[in-house]
């Protein structure tokens, strides 16, 4: 294993991690938009499939922490945007500041490297929502987020609000960090050490380097990411090579601080966990039974706290009739996800369209 790890690092140095596990683009177009504070976002469009049933509202699909569009769109089969487009939806995959086609920060003269969940939610998301509404003429959009992609919507609904969001599907999106796993607790404890050296955590570099040994999970830390038994080996390695990005320590600090049971704004003035009580937008909370980054307990808490009458929670795992145990990433990228998770998410969106 050490030999493989060393080899993978060497290949990564040569930029070969992505070459080893190629992926293709399925979006028909990509638009990069300025956020007004020096950053950009990217919107990748998956238009409705010809002949599919006409739908009323478009869908924005957002990635999770340290990730990018590959979080939702990796292969022909592992692509929820393509699945939605085949159902007649006009789908836009959003990449937040610093991720994927949204561009990396230049070494000199760029915007501040330190940004937070508040920046995502109050700057990037409004730009994306308004852009999609403008291009489609729709009065509102459906929002689908994985992990942090759902969290930014919890924040947006409290800080920005309005009627632009028709429904939310929050997949593996905790309302605060709950380190039931000691491995996660230890990782959170280590964060201050990294902060000494970085203002941006170089997660993408490490992940690409480790792509050849991303599957199977041999280290406890790998079980935080996914249930490897529910991942296709090739997909796991391709995702490691293409699907991760560097991220501001500001986001990680904010999330790590929420281990006390309350996700707060960067200035500490607003409690987003408590604030869910004032949210009236329908939210579907989806949890994986062996997801240790977003344990079912934190999604159930979101359901309990949410003020909306129209809400649902589903724990995806064998006890609810699913074929596999679902971890964090495999909720959307698992080998069985297209067959048994995508239809459940789609049903909620269709019902609210």
């Amino acid at each position: 294993m050490r030999v493989l790890l060393s080899l993978s690092i060497a290949l990564s140095t040569l930029g070969c991690g992505r070459w080893l596990y190629p992926v293709t683009e399925r979006a028909t177009s990509v638009e990069v938009l300025p956020t007004g504070d020096g950053w950009h976002i990217a919107l990748h469009r998956f238009p409705p499939a010809p002949g599919a049933a006409a739908r009323r509202l478009p869908v924005i699909v957002c990635h999770g922490v340290t990730s990018n569009r590959r979080n939702w769109d990796l292969t022909e089969r592992l692509s929820f945007p393509a699945h939605l487009a085949a159902q007649g939806f006009d789908v836009y995959v959003l990449e937040l500041r610093g991720s994927g086609a949204a561009g990396r920060r230049p070494l000199f003269g760029g915007p501040p490297a330190h940004y937070t969940l508040d920046d995502y939610a109050t700057v990037d998301v409004p730009v994306a929502v308004e852009a999609v509404r403008a291009r489609t003429g729709a009065p509102a959009v459906h929002w689908v987020g994985h992990s942090m992609g759902g969290i930014v919507m919890y924040v947006y609904l409290q800080r920005v609000g309005g009627d632009a969001i028709r429904s939310v599907t929050a997949v593996g999106s905790p309302v605060h960090v709950l380190p039931q796993s000691r491995t996660l607790a230890d990782a959170v404890d280590l964060l201050p050490l990294f902060e000494v050296f970085f203002d941006t955590l170089p997660v993408g570099l490490v992940s690409e380097a480790a792509a050849p040994v991303a599957w199977p999970s041999r280290l406890p830390e790998q079980h935080l990411v996914w249930n490897d038994q529910n991942m296709d080996p090739g997909a796991a390695r391709a995702l490691a090579a293409h699907g991760t990005h560097a991220i501001s320590v500001g986001v990680m600090q904010q999330m790590a601080a929420s281990r006390d049971g309350h996700l707060r704004s960067a200035d500490g003035a607003t409690d987003y966990t408590e604030g869910l009580a004032g949210v009236r937008t329908p939210i579907f909370f989806v949890a994986g039974n062996v997801d240790h980054l977003a344990p079912p307990a934190t999604l159930l808490e979101g359901y309990r706290r949410l003020g909306a009458a129209d809400k649902r929670v589903e724990i995806v795992g064998p006890a609810n009739g699913y074929r596999a145990d679902y971890g964090h990433v495999d909720l959307v990228m698992g080998r069985h996800a297209p067959d048994e998770v995508y239809p459940v998410l789609t049903e909620w969106i269709v019902r609210h369209d």
Partner: protein
């Protein structure tokens, strides 16, 4: 260290407690085919720490020491403790049974598995004299039970053996070896239906779990407690067993996840947590280390005992 029909037999008081358990607790007690799980218990009666095991719903004390397999009871006895296995009963009756077991100058740890842990917490609320608690997959709240549990409620089987095998497997285990499954079915089953009714009453149609009196009892207990649960336990997963899942941060209570992410050798189902052979290497050392750290030997002075 264990008393297996010879050597150190049960004390008179313990024999009475075992008889009392069988009569008062109303669940029939252990079957004669498994003499080691008698009221006499395992290990030396004079051990500094005694452990009372309470089984989960639909199972009796033999689950803790299956013939030809062993189990948690002899494992704890080998660690130097006196071990008793009680039939599950409602809280007050269980409290009475625990009072009868209590010996002066000896620490008493209550160990509950699943529903047995819930009853143990009710016993604690009723004044059971325990010094520490180990709660294995023990629910602290009810509601939002998953579809496999709802199917169990709908069928309301007389015992686990009356349930279709695929559903029973989904609910109870992530793969018990046949050498464990066979004696479990042969020796450890007890009636189930009335417990299921009580469970359903507590859940009361709630869409998601809310704290039950078990969490209140744990909060009121105040002593050291170790909760362990597995995310692949279909009956009582961590979202009903971890106090933090209900927003409770209790200084004396520790929750540990049993899963590969934290070094477990495999995924564990509900029964696997006590009956799977790998539980011996995965969980028993955890219990032993926790007991050593949190349950000090009693003060040798004559006035120190609580019992």
């Amino acid at each position: 260290m264990t008393d297996r029909g010879g050597g150190q037999g049960p004390t008179r008081r313990e024999a009475l407690a075992g008889l009392g358990g069988a009569l008062l607790l109303g669940c029939g007690g252990p079957r004669p085919a498994v003499p080691r799980a008698s009221g006499g218990g395992w290990g030396s009666p004079d051990a500094a720490v005694a452990v009372a095991l309470v089984p989960t719903l639909g199972f009796g004390p033999p689950i803790f020491d299956l013939p030809g397999v062993g189990g948690l009871a002899p494992s704890l006895a080998r660690a130097g403790h006196r071990v008793h296995a009680l039939a599950s009963a409602d809280g007050p009756a269980l409290a009475a049974g625990l009072r009868a077991l209590r010996r002066a100058g000896q620490r008493l740890i209550g160990v509950g598995h699943g529903w047995g842990g819930a009853e143990l917490l009710r016993a604690v609320a009723a004044g059971a004299p325990v010094d520490a608690l180990i709660l294995i997959a023990t629910p602290l709240g009810f509601g939002g039970e998953q579809r496999a549990v709802q199917a169990l409620w709908a069928r309301r089987p007389a015992d686990w053996g009356a349930l279709p095998a695929p559903l029973a497997r989904r609910l109870l285990t992530r793969g018990l070896p046949e050498r464990v499954r066979a004696p479990l079915i042969a020796h450890a089953r007890v009636p189930l239906a009335s417990t299921l009714d009580r469970w359903r009453e507590r859940a009361a149609g709630r869409p998601v779990p809310v704290p039950d009196e078990g969490l209140a009892a744990l909060r009121g207990f105040g002593g050291p407690a170790l909760c362990v649960s597995s995310p692949t336990d279909a009956l009582f997963p961590p979202h009903v067993c971890d106090p933090a899942a209900f927003g409770a941060r209790l200084a004396t209570v520790e929750h540990r996840l049993v899963a590969p992410v934290d070094g477990a050798s495999r995924h564990f189902g509900h029964l696997d947590l006590v009956a799977h052979p790998e539980a011996r290497s995965t969980l028993d050392p955890t219990f032993e280390a926790w007991i050593a750290a949190h349950v000090p030997p009693p003060d040798p002075s004559p006035a120190a005992g609580r019992g």
